[in-house]
Amino acid sequence: MSGSRIMKAAAAMALAAAILGAPFWWNALRGMKQKAPEPEKPVVGKECVLPAADMRKNHMTLLFQWRDDVVRKGDRAPVTIGGRQYEKSLTGSCLKCHTKKENFCDRCHNSLASGPACFDCHIDTSERGPWN
Amino acid sequence: MIEKVFLGPRRYWLLLLTLGVFIAAGLFFYIQQSSEGLAVTGMSHSVSWGLYIAQFTFLVGVAASAVTVVLPYYLHDYKAFGRITILGEFLAVSSVFMCLLFIFVDLGQPFRILHVILYPSPTSLMFWDTVVLFMYLVLNLVIGWTVLSAEYRGTPPPSWSKPLIYLSIPWAISIHTVTAFLYAGLPGRHLWLSAIIAARFLASAFSSGPALLLILCRVARRYTDFDPGNRPERALGVIITYAFSAHVFFMLLEVFTAFYSGIPSHRAPLVRLFWGWGDPASLTPYLWISTALALAALALLYSPARRRDSGLFIASIAVFASVWIEKGFGFVVGGFIPDPLERIPAYRPTLAEAAITAGVWATGILIFTLLFKITAAVRRKD
């Protein structure tokens, strides 16, 4: 490969990196920083079904498990954790304490731009009413 | 090798541009379909599959038809097909790609498509169809590319490609058989509930596929310097004649059983297909056009006209169009009419549906064009 061809290839790669990475460069130049989301803590209920750290990491696995138990196995028996009984239900359990979906679920999920489709079907029973 | 797609005459770029416009239009309407839902199509509670799945069915046939050139060339050492076998394989690649696209655009929840692999369901023929089609795509892409690369380097194809080529022959039959089984095993859909659907599918595939290949050869001879000569065309003409005769014969068998038995549920879908759906949106004229084209094609194929280049070309267009209407529309939509409650629903594709369908076709033609461009350049040795 001749020198000029290598130069050309390098220039093309640099241009590609500049264009494809534009969002990153743009935000870096403006000094933008990712702010940690602050989901609102519930007023009612002190403890969640699992320790907070565990929930942060694994809430989706737990929800999938409940979903499969209820829908696929027809097993709707409540789970008992720490002496308290919980219905295996997103709206029937989670939203009973976290009464404002937009101040809890949405804060993290919007911040990370990861939108699970739960509420496309399940009804947001918080104060703002069905589907907002 | 792949760099050959970047050099071409003005005509070539004009073709790519035209295809790009169709693809963009298709994409535009697909975005609309994604946000609005499949309500933008003409499908309904009763006719729940329409143009997309019908075109998918037709194209599985075109893909399978590669076997009509692969088999004579590799198993019987029929040399005349040497120059077009690779086109058959690349036609298969483009067709299977279109098939997968048609399945994708038909899904209500396209982003869940991997559920088919994540939760494999061996009782479902759709699961098997996905598996065999994907494998067939890989097989033909690997075979075509390997054989062409060898030609490019001036070496014989590697020995490991032979078993793959032999495997691709029964595999071609299997993809269309599985596609026929999608329909032929459903209780209560009497147009489809027939033991000869797979045989009909293969016969219509082995006539419409080679017809398309012949049309493509003719286009290539006219507009490019790729010239396989007319010996392979003659041979394709023979294959088209026999396969198309079998296709028409099988259709008549269906008509006999449905009408002579006198069983209303077997007769109803055929009656509706040819004599109206009791609705102004009736599309029966197209079925009659298909029939007329079939008769014209048979007349041409069984007359001395077939030996003339123009006669064979016109016959190929008639065969392709006839099967395209019958299988790429009538068969699938007709199976839903009358519906389970004996009603005669209307179905007419919408503009969005037609544009998305055209977009998928443009994508397939684009893939074929690029693969053909590489092939032609390799053959020219530039």
Binding site: R67, G74, C121 | S44, H45, H115, Y119, T123
Partner: protein
């Protein structure tokens, strides 16, 4: 995330086995792959008997339909071509072609009994579903998992009764927020849905909404395999027909004449 990765590997392994081995653990062990680990409730088969005479006597009554559709947030879509129906009234002669003619059963001419999913013993929809989004529970209910459905509509082509509906667009557009049942989800566009004998009530020991709502006592419900059940009592001294039994689907909904 450890768990989900493990699950994925487990599934990938099963997929490989199915593709290359043509068999799977579930197949070998004799339970359906699509059953999702459903424990078989031995000998249980939930069934329904619809009294056509009682239904006819009620005239234009739609109490059961309203109860079901409100309870399950089934939207009322004005375009009948795109309607969603879990339970609906339709002509007896359409539901059971050939069951009567100009001379026989004239008392039933014009009858429009309620139709719903037949919860088949041998359901074609379950057979064809490519993802296990629909399957048969141990108690006979043909269940739908809305999370799993990819919207291919193969089940609609397979169902010989027209009992399955597809969400051609967002169903929430057609639901009045004030009338919504907040204890039951809606569906989303691009998935198939149908009646499931109110699985959510059955699992809590209650009868289906339609049976509970019928003031004419036209709908009897219970375990077909249990001697004294309501459905067996209803079937005992009446002639009952099922829709298209010749197709081998073994429907669990009977129509008492």
């Amino acid at each position: 995330m450890e768990l989900t990765r493990l699950e994925f590997l487990n599934k990938a392994w099963r997929t490989g086995l199915v593709i290359f081995g043509g068999a799977s653990f579930e197949l070998v062990s004799g339970t359906s792959l699509t059953a999702g680990g459903q424990p078989a409730a031995a000998g249980k088969r939930l069934a329904m008997a619809v009294d056509v005479r009682a239904c006819m006597k009620a005239g234009q009554c739609v109490k059961c339909i309203n109860a079901c559709h409100r309870g399950h947030n089934v939207p009322a879509i004005p375009d009948v071509k795109r309607a969603i129906t879990w339970i609906w009234r339709d002509d007896l002669e359409r539901a059971m072609p050939g069951v009567m003619d100009s001379y026989s059963g004239t008392a039933f001419h014009g009858a429009k009994p309620v139709l719903l999913c037949n919860q088949c013993g041998n359901p074609p929809c379950v057979r064809v579903c490519p993802t296990g989004a629909t399957w048969k529970r141990g108690d006979g209910i043909v269940m739908m998992d809305q999370h799993r459905c990819i919207g291919c509509r193969y089940c609609m082509a397979a169902c010989p009764y027209g009992s399955r509906s597809f969400n051609w667009n967002d169903p929430r557009r057609y639901l009045a927020k004030k009338l919504i049942n907040r204890d039951y989800p809606t569906r989303t566009k691009g998935t198939v849905e149908k009646c499931d004998f109110c699985a959510e009530r059955i699992d809590r020991g209650r009868e289906p909404l339609c049976a509970a709502a019928c003031t004419e006592k036209a709908i009897s419900f219970g375990n077909l395999h249990e001697d004294g059940s309501a459905v067996r009592k209803a079937l005992a001294d009446r002639i009952a027909l099922r829709r298209k039994p010749e197709l081998g689907t073994d429907p669990a909904v009977y129509y008492l004449l």
